[in-house]
């Protein structure tokens, strides 16, 4: 690679710029090298200094030896989406070092393992060579541990260069290791200090990036979306969990198991108030979920796109037979091998309409750990209230990355168990018709198996049943039932979380997104305003089926940009199913589908292009 290609930006070096609390650090390592700990400590230390921060792990589908990148973004303005531009590189992986350096913005910093000799690659960067192998020897006499410990050295170097307080590094490090690994913590702390000292003596500060203490993170927590969803399920009173391991959802159930063991063993009996079964596949896990829901449990599973595909037939039965159950889909890229560890919002269409026949499923679309927590509770209430499978569409970015969040709020409302008749009810009523719309909301009354009453039983089957759950193949019975199911889903529209809407007086264009696209979208709106003087109204959808606000929003704007993290504009396609032609004509699409979390610049550039600004 010739250095002339990038040398035009050399003037950015040494300009005396000072950029405080607004940059991204990306650490390039190989997976299995123990860098996760060093990266988490670095992120937490910045967080503890009161600076808004986010961390994103881009990792391969592999156990050890392949490239992995961890990106930390510090943002005084609180932007926590992915930043397209990389400002500070830590290059530890010889395999990717060249490309890692070539990707950097002009004026960025590159800290690298000295033998890689990267400083000849470009003249428009600030280089910091660090002889990791030399530094690690005195710190870590035990040779086999050096591979792990050398990572902590870059924490110290980065701390020195960016002005991260070492006391915060120490606190984060000891918190990470915990009391039981005090010895390992001590060893790593020495490594961090060694890096810090080395940098202080040998690496004069050249780049403009630095941190300064703020007060924007007090009281906040750091949590990944999967753990937040697990907590939501815990506080929703989940009782039966059936699952099959699949990236990126496994850590959700594993976190849930941990919490259940801590908080759901009855102190009087010592017995579990839950059952978790690792099923043989996703077909079995959803079968168990629906069987358990049918019998009255609060049941759930977590999976990803391939699992959703396998659950298709059962999901349809759940819809037709009206069985509650919660299915969390932590979306990722594509089937089979390829990019299972990259993020995508690629299951919107397939999940909304999962299975054959006229099926349609409620989907909740959380964008933050707090929403993971609240919406998983909503999902259980909705599933039982409307007697239907409810899907939570998270994604890998939300599920597996660490997010700064306000602490979660304890549920204000009691658990909603829906319309279930007891033996006493049956005694009073004399009987019931399972699929009759008694209340006008499309939702019938159900009984649970083992209800001690001769009139309690009914027979559950697929599409062919009449109001009394009797077998039928009559067209009027079938159509009446389908119409009632459609009415039920219509009722549900006003029970799912409503979208967040922000109208701007002067705005001619609107922007609509869902889930984690919000971070890039919200940042992009600021970019459009500050860089192009363009005001935008904003709608963030939180659930499907959509409510009446969607049409209203579209009708109030000339053009509405729908942000999708998939190739085929699936969120927009879902809207097309429900809108009229005049509304559809106003929709425009902005799509990103490269496997990384969408970034603001991509959205801004695309809207600017389409608006011909």
């Amino acid at each position: 690679m010739s250095i002339t290609e990038v040398s035009t930006a050399e003037s950015r070096l040494g300009s005396g710029r000072r950029i405080t609390n607004d940059f991204s650090i990306q650490v390039a390592t190989v997976n299995g090298s123990g860098s996760q700990t060093a990266n988490t400590v670095l992120m937490r230390a910045i967080f503890q200094m009161g600076i808004p921060v986010s961390g994103k792990n881009m990792f391969p589908s592999n156990i050890a030896g392949l490239p992995t990148w961890f990106t930390i973004r510090a943002s005084k303005d609180g932007y926590i989406g992915r930043k397209k531009e990389l400002d500070f590189r830590v290059a530890m992986n010889p395999e990717t070092a060249r490309e890692d350096v070539m990707k950097l913005e002009s004026g960025a910093a590159a800290l690298y393992d000295e033998p890689l000799k990267l400083d000849g690659l470009r003249s428009d960067l600030h280089f910091y060579p660090v002889p990791f192998d030399k530094l690690v020897v005195p710190v870590c006499p035990e040779a086999r541990l050096r591979k792990l410990v050398r990572n902590m050295i870059y924490d110290g170097v980065v701390a020195q260069l960016l002005g991260i307080e070492m006391e915060e590094v120490r606190k984060a490090l000891f918190k990470q290791f915990g009391a039981r690994k005090a010895k390992a913590a001590e060893l790593n702390w020495n490594a961090a200090r060694t890096g810090f000292e080395f940098a202080a003596q040998n690496l004069p500060k050249k780049d403009p990036f630095r941190v300064e203490r703020m007060n924007a993170t007090a009281g906040k927590i750091i949590i990944d979306g999967n753990a937040a969803t697990a907590l939501g399920c815990l506080f929703a009173g989940v009782t039966v969990v059936a699952w099959y391991p699949i990236t990126p959802s496994s850590s959700l159930v594993e976190a849930l198991i941990g919490y259940l063991k801590r908080y759901r063993i009855d102190p009087e009996t010592g017995k579990a108030t839950f059952a978790v079964v690792q099923a043989e596949d996703e077909l079995a896990s959803i079968g168990m979920v629906l069987g358990a829901g049918w019998a009255g449990a609060r049941s759930m599973t977590a999976t990803s796109g391939p699992g959703i595909s396998l659950m298709s037939e059962f999901a349809g039965l759940g819809y037709y037979a009206e069985l509650p159950g919660v299915i969390v889909d932590v979306q990722r890229v594509g089937p089979s091998t390829g990019l299972p560890t990259r993020t995508m919002q690629g299951d919107l269409l397939s999940t909304a309409l999962l299975s054959h026949g006229d099926t349609k499923h409620p989907m909740l679309m959380p964008s933050s750990p707090r929403e993971c927590f609240s919406m998983s509770q909503d999902a259980f209430d909705l599933a039982e209230r409307f007697q239907t499978p409810v899907f939570i569409l998270s994604d890998l970015d939300l599920g597996m990355n660490n997010w700064m969040s306000d602490p979660f709020v304890y549920p204000a409302e009691p658990i909603q168990r829906g319309k279930v008749l007891t033996a006493q009810d049956l005694e009073r009523l004399g009987g019931f018709a399972r699929y009759k719309d008694v209340d006008g909301d499309g939702v019938g009354y159900r009984t649970l198996p083992a209800t001690p009453h001769p009139a309690a039983a009914y027979f559950t089957r697929g599409s062919g049943h009449n109001e009394k759950a009797g077998y039928t193949e009559r067209e009027d019975d079938y159509m009446n039932n389908m119409d009632r199911l459609a009415h039920k889903l219509d009722t549900l529209r006003s029970y799912v979380p409503a979208p967040r809407v922000e109208y701007r007086e002067a705005a001619q264009i609107g922007v609509i997104c869902a889930g984690t696209s919000r971070y890039a979208t919200e940042e992009s709106r600021d970019q459009l305003r500050s860089e192009y003087g363009v005001e935008t109204s904003y709608m963030r959808l939180k659930a499907y089926p959509f409510n009446h606000q969607l049409s209203e929003f579209i009708r109030r704007h000339d053009r509405v940009y729908v942000i999708d993290q998939n190739r085929d504009a699936q969120l927009l396609a879902l809207m097309r199913l429900e809108l009229d032609s005049e509304e559809i004509a106003r929709l425009r699409s902005v799509r990103y589908y490269g496997g990384l979390p969408i970034d603001a610049r991509t959205i801004t550039d695309e809207i600017v292009r389409q608006e011909e600004l």
């Binding site: 079964v277 043989e280 079995a284 049918w294 658990i415 209800t451 027979f459």
Partner: protein, 347 residues
């Protein structure tokens, strides 16, 4: 000889219910279908055992066999699931409410082909559940294709010969964890009835493979699942009597003629020796007997294997004795203090 098989000729059973309370809807299966006889035995067994019908939940997959839960126990909840996946539905339901007495009816297609995966994993878990395979070696609802239990060399009506070896669902059940394994014939009222009652009393997974001839598609010459073939080749291991816990009958039996197996609820299975002295508590014996019988073209019927006192799925999960489904909010939603504790750890 019979000490147990016939109960006093009363109009109601021990909990005061008439047999009508155990009946189901009118069958829509073919006249003479073995499955109808099995439904009758199920009605009989639950009636005679005096089980509250609403405590039972019925499960099935798809196929002729899977229609039959509609033809018995109308007062029990029923769940007609998807093809081959009934075990998962039953597992979920019984985890939700461990007081449910679950009975599943499936076929050889529903179990041995599309449902093989779920069947095998059901076996591993020792779910307290009665799993009845109505085995006729043929797909009925789709009009007469071979199933995976069709014997090598057996012939379809159209003359097509099966050239693949069959799965023996009892052998699979024995090898992979079922704690009660039996084979019977829909035409053997007495034996099937006794086996069903024993399965109702068993704590753990019962797999009962019932040869149940399909009169429409697989009852011709050349079939190994026909009435005629079974009359020739049925080889009972023993005479099965079941003595429920609520009957206190003691009769002197000459030593050597009878094996008795005590069940956890105090009931007893009595096996009267026939041609051989068969020990139903040995898995290895059972597997060997099945292999030898297959070579001789015999169909061994009776209780092939029983292991009492094995841990069930509920034991393995250390589950609360109360149904999870109806635990109050105070038991399933942790306190505000718990949430605060978790939040503090994440700060």
């Amino acid at each position: 000889m019979s000490t147990t098989a016939t109960l006093p000729p009363k109009k109601v059973n021990r909990i005061g219910l008439e047999v009508q309370a155990y009946k189901g809807g009118k069958t829509t299966l073919c006249a003479g279908c073995g499955h109808n006889a099995i439904s009758e035995r199920i009605v009989e067994a639950f009636y005679e055992m005096g089980i509250e019908p609403w405590k039972v939940a019925k499960f099935s997959g798809i196929g002729c066999s899977s229609k039959s839960p509609a033809y018995f126990l109308n007062q029990a909840h029923g769940f007609n699931g998807v093809h081959g996946r009934m075990p998962s539905v039953a597992t979920g339901a019984i985890l939700a409410n461990r007081h449910i007495l679950g009975i599943g009816v499936t076929g050889d297609g529903d179990t041995a082909s599309i449902g093989m995966g779920q069947f095998m994993h059901l076996l591993r878990r020792n779910l307290p559940f009665i799993y009845i395979i109505e085995d006729n070696g043929v797909y009925g609802l789709t009009k007469g294709q071979f199933s995976a239990t069709a014997d090598l060399g057996s012939k379809l009506k159209t003359g097509v010969v099966n050239d693949l070896p069959p799965f023996d669902c009892c052998a699979l059940a024995l090898r992979w964890g079922a704690t009660f394994v039996a084979r019977s014939f829909s035409g053997d009222k007495k034996q099937l009835s006794a086996i069903l009652k024993a399965a109702i009393a068993h704590r753990g997974l019962s797999v009962i493979d019932v040869i149940s001839p399909c009169v429409t598609f697989n009852d011709h010459e050349g079939s190994t699942k026909s009435y005629a073939f079974m009359k020739e080749h049925d080889e009972p291991l023993h005479e099965v009597d079941f003595v429920p816990s609520f009957l206190d009958i003691s009769v002197e039996i000459p030593e050597g003629e009878l094996r008795e197996v005590a069940m956890h609820d105090g009931s007893r299975i009595r096996l009267r020796k026939l041609a051989r002295d068969y020990d139903p508590t040995s898995q290895i014996n059972a597997i060997q007997a099945l292999h030898e019988a297959a070579q001789k073209e015999e169909v061994l019927t009776g209780i092939l294997y029983i292991a009492t006192g094995q841990p069930t799925l509920m034991d393995m999960l250390n589950m609360d004795d109360q149904p999870l489904a109806t635990l109050p909010e105070s038991k399933v939603r942790p306190s505000p203090k718990a949430l605060e504790e978790i939040m503090e750890e994440l700060r």
